[in-house]
């Protein structure tokens, strides 16, 4: 089912029928890029074909978007790196502020990009009116607060996965175009202004294990694939289970090497944030946080050596 006219009532309020504007392709591309990470193959092949991306297999799609990198804002902005909670509530609040009922997965990238496209399309349909101004304002808030607060890091992580790299690059390019057109405020997004404390040098093992899977605590994204690579690199076994469980096992086997690898991982993310294709105040914040985490982890590695 399509979603092009979700905001038609808003445009009809001012007596202007919703109609495709000059930027129809712009909105469609954004909506399509979002849909790709939501719609499992083969249903999404018609979209990837239109975009010119290689069609994913079911396994590839599941590996990236279900298992390793679920594209939810709450995972990246929440204190526990989990679905729901404050990270999801903040996004849902924006839907409500717009007078819309938030869907169950309001913080899913597909929903965010679809909403962005809806706002853009609805704005096109009521050019010159107050409603247009309000819609543009809402779209700008969505971009600055709910996309640029976490998406650059997410796309950087996705870009490291072979299957998703093309999609990630194209999505980053589309978002960069939006940032170029809309600009970003100098102020950090609220989610980062009110972010939980970074990893601390005095944190115990439990706190360390809680923080490592939570990007907003560490400044980096740590996937199952990363852990498998780490195990291979430092010569420890990676036990099957959630990341916290696997990390505990790695730390128990070789704490020094594991902590050292994690510190290096954090430094790689400092670079990814500083030199990524999407720049902004949020990226500086993420880089600083990753740097802070790197320092803590290096210190811990030294202490257990």
């Amino acid at each position: 089912m399509t979603a092009t006219h979700a905001l038609v009532p808003a445009t009809r309020e001012v007596g202007v029928a919703a109609a495709p504007g000059d930027d129809a392709g712009r909105w469609e591309l954004i909506r399509a890029l979002g849909a790709l990470c939501s719609v499992a193959p083969p249903d999404g092949w018609v979209i990837s074909d239109a975009i010119g991306l290689r069609p994913w297999s079911r396994a590839e799609h599941t590996a990236v978007f279900v298992l390793d990198l679920p594209p939810h804002a709450s995972i990246h902005l929440g204190p526990e790196g989990k679905l729901g909670g404050d990270g999801a509530d903040r996004v849902a609040g924006m839907w409500r502020a717009l007078g819309l009922v938030p869907p169950a997965d309001a913080d899913h990238l597909a929903a965010l990009l679809a909403l962005y496209a809806e706002l853009g399309q609805a704005g096109d349909a009521c050019q010159g009116s107050d409603t247009r101004r309000r819609l543009d304002h809402a779209r700008h808030a969505l971009l600055a607060e709910h996309l640029m607060s976490w998406l650059p890091g997410y796309l950087a992580a996705a870009g490291t996965q072979h299957a998703a790299s093309g999609w990630a690059a194209l999505t980053a390019a589309a978002i960069r175009r939006e940032v170029d057109r809309m600009g970003l405020p100098g102020e950090l997004p609220a989610a980062l202004r009110e972010a939980p404390a970074p990893l601390g040098a005095g944190d115990g093992l439990g706190e360390l294990l809680d923080a490592l899977p939570a990007p907003v605590r560490t400044g980096f994204v740590l996937t199952q694939a990363d852990l498998v690579g780490a195990g291979r690199q430092i010569g420890v076994g990676v036990r099957r289970g959630e990341r916290r469980f696997a990390l505990r096992a790695m730390l128990e086997q070789d704490p020094s090497a594991t902590l050292a690898w994690l510190g290096a991982h954090a430094r790689r993310w400092v670079s990814l944030h500083r030199h990524g294709t999407l720049a902004g105040p949020a990226q500086d914040w993420w880089a600083d946080r990753a740097a802070s985490t790197s320092a803590v982890l290096d210190s811990l590695a030294r202490s257990v050596a």
Binding site: M1, T2, A3, H5, A6, V8, P9, R12, G15, V16, A17, A18, A19, P20, A24, G25, R26, W27, E28, L29, R31, A32, G34, A35, S38, V39, D43, G44, V46, I47, D49, A50, I51, G52, R96, V101, P103, D105, H108, A110, A111, A114, L115, E118, L170, A173, A174, R176, R177, V179, D180, G183, L184, P185, G186, T277, L278, A279, G280, P281
Partner: protein, 985 residues
Amino acid sequence: MPRHRTPHQPTPDLGALGERVSAARAAVEARGETFYQGASKTFLAGFPPPQRWDDWVELDSRAWPERVEHHSMLVPTTCFNCESACGLLAYVDRETLQVRKFEGNPAHPGSRGRNCAKGPSTINQVTDPDRILYPLRRAGERGEGKWERVSWDEALDALAARLRAAIVEGRHNEIMIHIGRPGEDGFTERVLASWGVDGHNSHTNVCSSGGRTGFQFWTGIDRPSPDHANAKVIYLISSHLETGHYFNPHAQRITEARAKGAKVIVLDTRLSNTATHADYWLSPQPGSEAAINLAVARHIITTGRVNWDFVRDWWNWQEYMEARHPDGPQGFEAFQAALAEEYDGYSFELAAAESGIDAAILAEMAEVVAGAGTAFSCHSWRSAAASNLGGWQVSRTVFFLAALLGAVATPGGTFPNAYNKYVPRPIHTPPHPKVWQELSWPLEFPLAQNELSFLLPHFLKDGRGRLDTYFTRVYNPVWTNPDGLSWMEVLTDTDKVGCYVALTPTWNESAYFADWGLPMGHASERHDTHSYEQYDGQWVGFRQPVLRAARERLGETVTDTREVNPGEVWEENELYIELSWRIDPDGSLGIRRYYESKDRPGEKLTVDEYYGWMFEHSVPGLPEAAAAEGLSALQYMRRYGAFEITKYQGALYAGEVPPAELEDIHVTPTGRVYTAAPKPESDNIGPLGAPPPDDEGRRPVGVLVDGTVRRGFPTPSGRLELYSSTIAAWGWPEHALPGYIRSHVHPDELAPDQMVLLSTFRLPTQIHTRSANSKWLDELSHTNPVWIHPSDAARLGVRRTGDLVRVSTDIGYFVAKAWITEGIRPGVVACSHHMGRWKLTGHDQVSPGGMMATVDLGHGAAGWSMHARKRVGPYSSADPDTRRIWWSDTGVHQNLTMPVHPDPISGMHCWHQAVRVTPARPGDSHGDIAVDTEKSREVYRQWMARTRPAGTYSPDSTRRPAWLMRPLKPAAETFSLPGATGTRR
């Protein structure tokens, strides 16, 4: 504001890529396929966008794997299956120009594209093999089942002659149109007014008048409009409205509120659908609800949560003090103390004793209510208010809670419905009739909210009058009312009812006894406008014959809806225009002028002009919105089906009265303000109370609050009336305050072997007989077992669910299946009123298995008996689905066994029954009924003895307080009591 910009990097040609995706999507969707698979990410459901309503393509699922396209025109209309008036979209096949299906209309502000099962099932009613397609005239005796097809001209000429004769001979009161659920705003009333006839009769006194009465005496307006979506606490006395009446528009907003953390409290003796979702489900002893409300009120008062600023400004507390505490101090502080004292007796312990609910639970719930502040939405409609002697006090005490909290017309609060309703002024407005219909508005019930419709058979038997021509309009009085066999007795008596005309889409238990069966349209076959309170905003909806609108989109001109409807099915608008012209062909009676064109003087008014004028002149903003799309206002409504006029009405009562309306004002000591300035014309003619003028004839214009004249409420005092001087003056001073009246089924009134039968609850997938000719709905719900608690079942010897029980009332009994469940309070049984359709043996005009049992109806010394000869089953018809009927049950028609119980104040029929439940006796069969209508006469007389007639109690020699709302209010002079010489103000 400092802005960051990303460093320049090479990017792909995103513009070209976007165009390519757009083109791909267009190509996919043009094939009727879906580009974005899966659930929508931006809202719950997707709808066809309006710009594609002219040619919407879908693939035929039954043709799979072939790709067969269906091209449809999507034409909006409004559901006719309940009062919610939800928007529908008819899918009109572009090749056959037939309706394929109905789905929701996303442009409708109330329902927002969502429907309950009754909406899409309209297609069943349109294709029902048993519908009446042509005008029919009785060929044998009344009720014999013999009919002959006649032309509309024959029917209209015959009826016009009868009606003209009655009008010319001054027998206006022998004409009556009895409507069921109106589903429109005032057309029928204006027809009667144009004929000079006070003949509007409605089903409201078996429906909602008890609920309305409580709200009317508080606010001057007889319906509430809860803003559920923004409430913190939602308080529902019974779920009835939320699972039946405004089920869909309210339910979806309650769901939204719950998602935001709102608490839902449901008082319902039965575990309803809504109760299953409630935070608090309280199952009170039936009739004790007002006692619970008053205990909550006391808690609000004693814990200091009353919004005293609101109370000081907007309650008529000064009148209360003058009336009840004339000798003490009259200040507000004295009132605060008096109020606390007045309700001090309503402790949780008292409420617990009355309701059977633990006092601690009541206290916990009351604390939730007290914490709601001004975001407290509440509703009481049928159920308790419609079931108990004094049930109207249930809604009066519910609104008491909102009034204490100041949650009146606040976000999340409860509004008077008039704030959220818009009835556009029509092209012609005939004057008030100059007669008073005693058969509907008898002197015994001066405060009745609506017509005493369910007493009509008894009044006719009393010899209070006769009816020359009696219309029922999409209404089934034999089936819907209590004591239906008394209805049958008068409908078959030509001395009492000279001519009975059934305006109906389908056969029903009343139409069998008609002289004329005239086919009326379903939701997609008729014009109507309507506006209902479903959120804080105002909208107007439009029901239309969708095939007429579809053909007009194709460039055709349709001037008579019969051209496009099935057979010769018509609609009332055009019918009444034509009939009125035939009653008054030369205009000499002064009737025809109300059906003449303004554009073409002397010619007949068309529905296009009628609605075109209304939409163009009386709906603010609609012409402009239409013009922005290059449409006329009528074209816009034919295109979208609804228009939202306002949102966020807010506290209109607090609005300042403009200086232009303040001329030679008079201010009473309590701050009521009267003005000599004429009332400004309003295009919204929605019903309100009409407070009387002052002694010099100035009209009430507002109330003085802190030195400013504000609108106030349409009550005599201009404020919310804690104390009703009207109730006190008309003989009921003991009930002038929100209070608790013990029900006729209070435990003290029951014999040891009696239980309460709760008979008013609705099945969300059915609505009386209106929805009964829908195969989908009948498949969902086709039986109405008697709910009985396991402890009662064990005590009574009812062993298993499905066992037959005999339920005996004061006038007879019915036999039904038992459903043993903990979803009902011990000591109470319940049976829905939606089932038990029947047709008489020999009525072969109805299909042999047509979703109603074939019954033998006998009459002997013991009265009437009904026995099912044949139940439903598969049968052959033009519809192949009738071969697939897998059920045989039709339930039982329990209402036949219930005597009339008119509440002496509200006039509402008090539905609850004191019954004896026993295992069925040998020979009893499911659906059996026995009724002694002589006993029903006795019960009628007993209840009439409770009344305090206007002839004795009227304070001003009038029949009824003129300020109270009344459908089709007659002219002022008719209010005087017979023989009285005084003039009503």
